[in-house]
């Protein structure tokens, strides 16, 4: 158990026009602020969103945490996609949820790197290790938004690194998946588990990247990252699902050596392929239309 306090939107105190605007696409929520979207014909901030402190156990999986917050989510008529996206983003940024998952990944990586001497796997582990470090640093910048003017320069460096490392990682992940049948039984399990964890976490790290752009007021870039990285992510998920189906077909025709592996992980894989909160994290949001005075402030 690892209870942490997080601040989630108190939807019961959110203005009706914000709630209505979220449904119509006239409002966009970024970093705790509700803006008029560019499609609304208006500009500026509509409301600083009210927050509610909640305790969550960040060591649990996301579905479990969200279940515990169900009361907060269903209080008002905000679409599940929007409220889930906002809550999951808050959990990812404000708690050590991601850090814990990354630590677990690091432990698996250490075992795999030590035992598996495939160059492909080692390169992948190396890239992932770099990416994880940058993600954690980016999260540190996001925790305290009041020092944004002091962290702006570092944030730009982090954003460039995040994009580069994320792309490298995503393009190597399919190699790692293809490698699974060549590994020993023990390593097959470790690599599959590891692949599942990376695929589960990627939408969170992509959203974190977008949140950092939001923090800098670069809303178009935030949307661009969610859109382009999201597209690559779903392509990767499709590839992984196809690979699993292909391996399962191999089991059906008696030609695959991963029968036990797929059977043991069947429930985990099915869960992974239908994670609602990952869809919510990668859902595109309307672009805020900020007032000219706010625009000037962001240029500082």
């Amino acid at each position: 158990m690892n209870f942490e306090a997080i601040f989630v939107v108190d939807w019961s105190k959110v203005k009706d026009e914000v709630i209505a605007g979220l449904a119509s696409g006239d409002i966009s929520i970024r970093r705790g602020l509700a803006y008029w979207s560019s499609a609304s014909g208006k500009n500026g901030i509509v409301q600083h969103l009210p927050f509610l402190e909640q305790k969550i156990d960040a060591s649990q999986n996301m579905e479990h945490i969200l279940k515990g917050l169900a009361g907060v989510k269903s209080a008002v008529a905000v679409s599940a996609m929007v409220s889930t996206g906002v809550i999951v983003a808050a959990i990812v940024v404000q708690t050590i949820y991601l850090g814990r998952k990354l630590d677990r990944l690091q432990d698996t990586m250490d075992i795999v790197s030590k035992d598996v001497h495939s160059q492909n796997v080692l390169i992948f582990m190396d890239k992932l290790s770099d990416y994880m470090g940058t993600v954690e640093s980016a999260r540190e910048l996001l925790i305290n938004s009041s020092v944004i003017d002091q962290t702006k320069d570092i944030a730009h460096i982090h954003l460039a690194e995040l994009a580069r490392q994320r792309n490298a990682l995503m393009s190597l992940l399919d190699n790692l998946i293809r490698y699974i049948p060549n590994a020993t039984d023990r390593h097959q399990n470790l690599i599959l588990d590891f692949t599942n964890s990376v695929i589960e976490l990627l939408p969170s790290t992509i959203r974190l990247e977008a949140e950092l752009y939001d923090q800098l007021g670069k809303f178009d870039m935030a949307n661009h990252v969610v859109k382009t990285a999201g597209k690559k992510y779903w392509k990767l998920v499709d590839f992984y699902r196809s690979w699993c189906n292909q391996q399962a077909q191999g089991v059906i025709t008696g030609e695959s050596n991963v029968a036990g592996l797929l059977e043991e992980n069947s429930d985990k894989l099915k869960r992974l392929f239908k994670l609602d909160f990952n869809q919510a994290l990668l859902a595109e949001m309307p672009i805020p239309q900020i007032a000219s005075v706010q625009r000037d402030l962001l240029k500082v």
């Binding site: 399962a248 077909q249 089991v251 059906i252 025709t253 008696g254 695959s256 029968a259 099915k270």
Partner: protein, 246 residues
């Protein structure tokens, strides 16, 4: 019953099988034609299987079902050590041998199964009326004008080639066998086309399977289990080939 599943690459697919199809397979192993518990079965002694059976969750018990099947296979083969499970392909080859189906061990399991299903289908073909035959021929893409041995040869070739014809025939044969032996057809979610043929074929397949059980070579208790079980497993494989598991 051998307590341990003998690793068998041809039976691992049962992990993905449909629950209802597994239930039919388990029932072949558990009960005889009159619905009485088989004297030689040991499956029902397994606590894990019983728990799964009570919850109607045969998927979680697939290994117990597979183990029992391997055990029955052991009872049919004279060269097998009694009580030790036998791999599926060996049982399949043995059943095919008893039915004089020309297959080779070097062939893939699925190809042997297709030949096996084609053979049972062939035996039931003569008991179908002309109109149903022509209708079915056309449904699997064979010219309805073909008749007699030429039509049957084309059908057998289509089944052996795999694809939709073998999938459809596998379900029709498995349904006919289930209906003849348990009094109940398969509970399948299939399209209306296949559903219609399920009832048309149930009778002729039932006649064919009942006739097979009168052949002296396969009257033993174990064959009364392994033969329908092989039909069921072959149909499950065809069904799974048309399904996405993830």
């Amino acid at each position: 019953m051998s307590t341990k599943y003998r690793e068998d690459s041809d039976l691992n697919m049962l992990a993905y099988a449909d629950n209802e199809m597994l239930k039919v397979l388990a029932n072949y192993l558990l009960y005889d034609k009159d619905g009485k518990a088989r004297l030689t079965e040991k499956l029902s002694l397994s606590e894990s299987f019983k728990k799964a059976q009570n919850k109607d969750d045969y998927k979680s018990a697939w290994k117990y079902i597979a183990t029992e099947f391997q055990h029955f296979g052991g009872d049919t083969l004279v060269n097998a050590v009694r009580g030790k499970g036998v791999e599926y392909k060996e049982i399949l080859m043995d059943v095919c041998g008893k039915l004089s189906i020309k297959v080779d061990e070097s062939q893939k399991t699925i190809e042997i199964e297709q030949a096996f299903l084609a053979s049972i289908f062939e035996k039931s073909w003569k008991d179908m009326n002309e109109e149903d035959r022509r209708d079915f021929q056309e449904s699997v893409g064979i010219d309805g004008k073909l008749a007699g041995p030429a039509a049957l040869a084309a059908m057998i070739a289509a089944i052996n080639a795999g694809g939709f014809a073998s999938y459809q025939v596998a379900l029709l044969v498995a349904n006919g066998v289930a209906k003849a032996l348990t009094g109940k057809g398969l509970q399948l979610a299939v399209n209306a086309g296949i559903a219609r043929y399920l009832s048309i074929f149930a009778g002729p397949v039932g006649i064919a399977i009942t006739a097979l059980f009168t052949i002296p070579m396969i009257t033993g208790t174990a064959y009364r289990v392994t033969l329908p079980a092989v039909v069921q497993i072959a149909a499950m494989r065809q069904q799974l080939q048309n399904k996405e598991c993830f």
